[in-house]
């Protein structure tokens, strides 16, 4: 992808600032000018709303900033604000997202285009404040669109894209932008900060057709008996199906204007001739790319598929990207206790009714903030090659378990 208004590297470098990940996200939110923001503190998302509250305090951002009594109230207040016609934002993580669970379904079912950042973090018990993706993966069926970011720039750039997707009258579905807690929220990286004017050109103003207005009274949140409920669910499901195209289109529009491309539903790295394919999402992708570079220099044909949109699930894109692979390894920062990694299950399901019978194995890794190292990635690739050559021994395996603790 090439920017329409092509900028020299020098010009782009000049635009770059070294900022904290949370600041970059808050800045992107500011450029989208939300009318109502709600905030409840929880590590590691807190810095995002702190930065936003400072923008409001400095008069740089004209938003109603609600310091609410819980994450449950944070999302509930946005349900009201969104129904009243406001562009809304919040961010949360882990237990906070879990506390919102009931409202997540409600916001999606009421078709309210709320945008929220999830700073991914493990769920207790045991209490753990560090990164994995169990929280948002656990919310995958709530009806929200879920985009996962590889780095800070992507997490920030996903915000205006998220609004553009969510507020499209054909979609009207809330969007969760997921970024790995601490790894991305607290890191300082050089980032190109967008400007409000640029975002204004990219993102149309939010003009909802249906709002709470005494001049045109409407009923929101009626109850639906069995003769209506299925159709309303179907319409939500259908909006996600339409979002498959919309996410791609919006990503392309963003790339055309801003010159930055992260993939549409998925992205690939050295995938064309890859025999071993790794599928994953989030910040571990950087490590994997470095590792692939090393392995490629040794002649190993390893490639990567990055999941950018986990919901809607990019079934067709994955089938296409993986059709020639000899073996697929899924690395994911979650596990479904009682089954296997959620992404592993989803991916296998996507490939099942295809002629391809590529072996797929999965590795929960990086749980509760444990580092995923280059050595870990190599081990995954070794196991994948062994599965290809000798058949699958274990369909799923926890990566690098400390045997001394078991």
């Amino acid at each position: 992808m090439i920017a329409k208004e092509e900028m020299s590297l020098k010009e782009r470098m000049a635009r770059m600032k070294v900022v904290e990940g949370s600041y970059a996200v808050a800045h992107a939110v500011k450029c989208c000018a939300p009318d109502v923001i709600s905030a409840y503190p929880i590590t590691p998302q807190t810095h995002i709303v702190e930065h936003l509250s400072q923008f409001v305090a400095d008069g740089e951002l004209d938003s109603e900033f609600l310091t609410v009594d819980s994450e449950f109230s944070a999302m509930s207040s946005l349900v009201g604000a969104s129904a009243a016609g406001a562009r809304c934002y919040s961010s949360t993580t882990s237990q906070g997202l879990a506390l919102m669970w009931e409202v997540l379904y409600n916001a999606a079912g009421m078709r309210l285009p709320i945008v929220m950042t999830v700073a991914n973090r493990a769920l207790s018990a045991p209490l753990n404040i560090w990164n994995d993706q169990q929280d948002s993966v656990g919310a995958r069926d709530s009806g929200w669109i879920q985009l996962y970011a590889e780095d800070v720039q992507e997490a920030a750039d996903a915000i205006p894209q998220a609004y553009k997707i969510a507020e499209d009258p054909e979609i009207l579905t809330p969007v969760m932008v997921c970024m790995d807690g601490f790894i991305l929220t607290h890191v300082y990286e050089p980032v190109e900060l967008m400007s409000a004017e640029e975002v204004e050109r990219f993102l149309p103003p939010y003009r909802p057709e249906h709002i709470l207005d005494p001049n045109n009274p409407k009923t929101f949140g009626a109850f639906a008996d069995p003769s209506y409920f299925t159709e309303l669910r179907y319409m939500q499901w259908d909006a996600h199906r339409r979002a498959l195209n919309k996410i791609e289109t919006v990503a392309r529009e963003f790339a055309e204007q801003f010159g930055r491309w992260y993939g549409g539903l998925i992205d690939t790295y050295h995938a064309d001739d890859a025999e071993v394919m790794i599928v994953t999402m989030g910040s571990v992708i950087g490590t994997i790319k470095d590792c692939i570079d090393m392995m490629r220099s040794e002649g190993l044909k390893v490639g990567l598929v990055k999941i950018r949109s986990y919901r809607p699930f990019p079934t067709e894109a994955l089938r296409k990207a993986l059709k020639d692979a000899e073996v697929v390894a899924v690395i994911e920062k979650d596990v479904t206790v009682g089954n296997e990694g959620a992404l592993l299950t989803d991916l296998k399901a996507a490939l099942y009714n295809t002629p391809a019978r590529v072996p797929v194995i999965g590795f929960p890794a990086g749980l509760g903030g444990r580092d995923i190292t280059v050595r870990d990635i190599r081990r995954v690739v070794d196991k994948a090659i062994a599965a290809r050559d000798r058949g699958i021994e274990a369909e799923m395996e926890f990566l690098s378990l400390r045997e001394d603790l078991l």
């Binding site: 004209d62 509930s76 129904a83």
Partner: protein
């Protein structure tokens, strides 16, 4: 004037809730947005694709109406729009499950007027005890039995909790006193910031009384001093509805199935005495009686 809650809703015959809504909306007028939690209001007035509401109305969940209303008010504030924002909610969603959200809304000082129609139990799910259920009430989760007089606990004092949040206008009202209720709604609107009004709203199925006597039952609650009518402005008791003739609590209890056991069980008379003491304490605390009227115990 056209009623803002249309006829044809599905509330029980004799239910006081639609009357409460219409009195509130009559006073508030059409320039009003209403948020409602899950409960009888929602299921009787909004079976999709129908709606009885002639003002914009939203239901989200059981416990979040105060937070939803907070968001509505914040959005209106941002857009410079001036509409009344009301919550109309039952006692379960207010005193129990919605307590966190309502506390947050009071604390943040949103200009939201919260009306709780208090039917003193979870009626929509089949008459289970709430923390607004009075003592000695038989409900399906605190039934009277061989060793039980029903609910063992006093009502949670929600108006006092609202006052403790420095809510500038807090009042109790009754469906039997429509002029008083309307006046209180108008006064709540005239005072910026949150307001809390708790309305005694008898439930024909949950309380088990004769159809057509809803308002009489509600009036007896006031006349026995079990349901004092008062209002607090900026934390000070600003007005009470005086009682001309104080009735004994038996008159109120006898009229309802939920207290039938008190008149049949051994020791029931002692429990009635306890309830009488509560009513007397209300009369004393709020100054409900005219001087010299304390001993009046007969009917009108």
């Amino acid at each position: 004037m056209e009623k803002l809650l249309a006829p044809g809703h599905r509330a029980c015959a004799g239910c006081s809730m639609p009357t409460v809504i219409n009195l509130v909306l009559d006073a508030a007028g059409p320039n009003t947005i209403v948020a409602t939690p899950t409960g009888c209001i929602e299921v009787t007035t909004t079976p999709y694709p129908e709606s009885a509401w002639r003002v914009p109305w939203i239901h989200s969940l059981f416990e979040n109406a105060a937070a939803v209303a907070s968001g509505i008010e914040a959005a209106l504030n941002h857009f410079g729009k001036n509409h009344n924002v009301f919550v109309i909610a039952g006692d379960g969603s207010t005193l129990d499950i919605g307590m966190g959200c309502i506390s947050g809304m009071f604390d943040r000082g949103h200009n939201v007027k919260y009306v709780c129609y208090d039917n003193e139990a979870y009626m929509n799910t089949g008459v289970q005890r709430s923390s607004s259920t009075p003592p000695c009430t038989s409900t399906t989760t605190t039934p009277s039995g061989k060793v039980s007089f029903g609910n063992p606990r006093p009502k949670k004092d929600m108006p006092a909790i609202a006052v403790a949040h420095r809510v500038p206008y807090v009042a109790t009202a009754s469906v039997a006193y429509p002029v008083d209720l309307r006046r209180k709604v108008k006064r709540a609107i005239s005072i910026p910031g949150p307001a809390y009004i708790q309305v005694n709203a008898p439930c024909i199925t949950g309380w088990s009384f004769e159809a057509g006597t809803t308002v009489e039952i509600a009036r007896l609650a006031v006349e026995t001093c079990l349901w004092p009518l008062y209002e607090y402005v900026n934390g000070e008791l600003a007005g009470v509805k005086k009682i001309h003739v104080k009735r004994p609590v038996e008159d109120y209890l006898k009229a309802q199935g939920r207290y039938r056991h008190l008149f049949r069980m051994k020791g029931g008379d002692e429990m009635i005495r306890v309830l009488q003491q509560m009513a007397d304490e209300n009369a004393r605390k709020f100054g409900l009686l005219y001087e010299g009227d304390v001993t009046c115990t007969s009917g009108e």
